[in-house]
């Protein structure tokens, strides 16, 4: 039995296959709509989520399986003081696989130590969000044909943005050697991660504070929200929340085949007038998340294309 706690739990070959299987599920959904017949996904969301929760629910249902769980810790026994380990042990009798989101960093790893079911980390605080990374990779593959060889820029909250941390590490594992980091000084990529990227993967990091200075050089622009819930005080959040806003006007200087990605939800960092631009792929990105999660569930339950012969 295996768990997916962080992207490093998957090899590059496994990620490539998940992306390929996910793309095939996108193109030929009917082929796969019974492969999880009789299987149950426990969807344990100790913190609110729209995309991750519902895309997992949708993924399991599209595979012919069922879903149980909660979308808010206050409706579970956690509100009565039950420990995470006990909740996970109990769920072992009710389901075949668990996806969990938790506000505390490291909670999915703790859960995996007490679980007899495969655990998928659906996000733990500002730490890891491996299935968002898979979503990002399948989107890049769909729109740019390859995962490698693009000039990727990350913009916004690079300090607390777990999607950025997971994706940038994974792209570095794929062999991408240069990233542009656009953020205010207060929200720069953590120095420990920068050190890992440069020393372990030999990556070049270009840090700037202005999007306009670099937008004409970007193949993939990954926008992020300044996350209110990651700040300990309101004042810091208010100071930084409007740091960057992508508008149709700014896109005029961008490459015609650049793509704009965003893990969503957005607040005001991408103007609504950008949505109609063909370079804006963030809604398709959210859609692709369902298919790569279908592939992941299949892999972890060893069904369909992952069935043992």
């Amino acid at each position: 039995m295996r768990h997916l706690i962080e992207p490093e739990d998957l090899t590059i070959d496994e990620i490539n296959r998940l992306v390929e299987v996910g793309l095939d599920m996108y193109s030929n959904p009917k082929v796969y709509n019974k492969i999880c017949d009789g299987k149950i996904l426990a969807s344990l969301f100790f913190e609110p989520s729209t995309r991750t929760k519902f895309s997992f629910d949708s993924a399991m249902m599209r595979l012919g399986g069922n879903v149980i769980g909660f979308a808010d810790a206050s409706t579970s026994s956690t509100s009565k003081g039950e420990s995470l380990a006990d909740t996970i042990k109990v769920m072992g009798a009710y389901a075949d696989i668990i996806v969990m989101r938790h506000p505390k960093e490291g909670a999915p790893k703790l859960a995996s130590q007490y679980s007899r079911l495969p655990i998928i980390n659906g996000g733990d605080g500002g730490h890891q969000h491996p299935t968002q990374t898979l979503t990002d990779l399948i989107t890049i593959k769909r729109f740019k044909q390859t995962v490698n060889g693009h000039n990727v820029a990350f913009c916004g909250d690079l300090k607390y943005g777990r999607t950025v941390h997971s994706l940038i590490r994974t792209l570095a594992r794929f062999g991408n050697t240069k990233f542009i980091l656009i953020s205010p000084d207060e929200l720069k990529l953590p120095s420990a991660l920068k050190r890992q990227l440069t020393s372990q993967y030999g990556v070049e990091l270009v840090e700037v504070t202005s999007m306009e200075d670099v937008i004409d050089d970007i193949d993939i622009l990954y926008m992020t929200r300044i996350q209110k819930e990651r700040f300990f005080n309101e004042e810091d959040y208010l100071k930084l929340k409007n740091s960057y806003k992508l508008t149709r006007e700014k896109l005029k200087n961008a490459k015609p085949d650049m793509i704009v990605m965003h893990p969503l939800p957005r607040v005001n960092e991408i103007g609504y007038d950008v949505d109609d631009d063909k370079r804006a792929v963030y809604f398709e990105q959210a859609e692709m998340g369902v298919y790569v999660r279908m592939a992941l569930i299949s892999m972890m339950l060893e069904v369909g294309p992952y069935a043992r012969s």
Binding site: L84, G106, K109, L110, Y114, H127, A192
Partner: protein, 142 residues
């Protein structure tokens, strides 16, 4: 010169950097019921000044904690007035307990099942330990 009798059974924690003896006592022995002697600023050929702790009828000591406080510490285990074992502290490559993760969002702060575990990342002047749960780096100054 101040003289303190040797102990019959117990441990002598020696070569503690002067000034850190109290820290060792507070971290490891503040709850003990056994007799403890804490000697501070004792003359030492090797260190100039050092602290020493002697504890009667105690034989277990967390060498990892001693290692992060001062890797030069030695521990003599005494039984029936004889030195039966001499241990040398060293900077631990991994730690279970002993440190609190400095990330306030880490699961180890709120869940009793999650005992903090760390891996040594760097020991250049300060000790950097990576939390096995949240991967945040916690710094311990030597």
């Amino acid at each position: 010169m101040l003289e303190v009798k040797g102990i019959e059974n117990g441990i002598v924690i020696d070569h503690i950097q002067a000034g850190k003896g109290l820290k060792v006592f507070n971290r490891l022995f503040s709850a003990t019921d056994n007799s403890v002697v804490l000697l501070m600023n004792v003359t030492s050929k090797q260190l100039g000044r050092k602290d020493i702790i002697k504890i009667e009828n105690t034989f277990d000591v967390n060498m990892d904690i001693l290692g992060i406080i001062d890797p030069n510490i030695t521990v003599n285990i005494i039984k029936d007035n004889k030195l039966v074992e001499k241990l040398k502290a060293e900077i631990p490559k991994s730690l279970k307990g002993g440190l609190q993760c400095q990330n306030p969002r880490c699961i180890t702060h709120t869940d009793d099942y999650a005992e903090p575990e760390f891996k040594l990342i760097s020991a250049n002047g300060k000790l950097e330990y990576e939390c096995s749960y949240c991967e945040e780096i916690t710094v311990y100054k030597l």
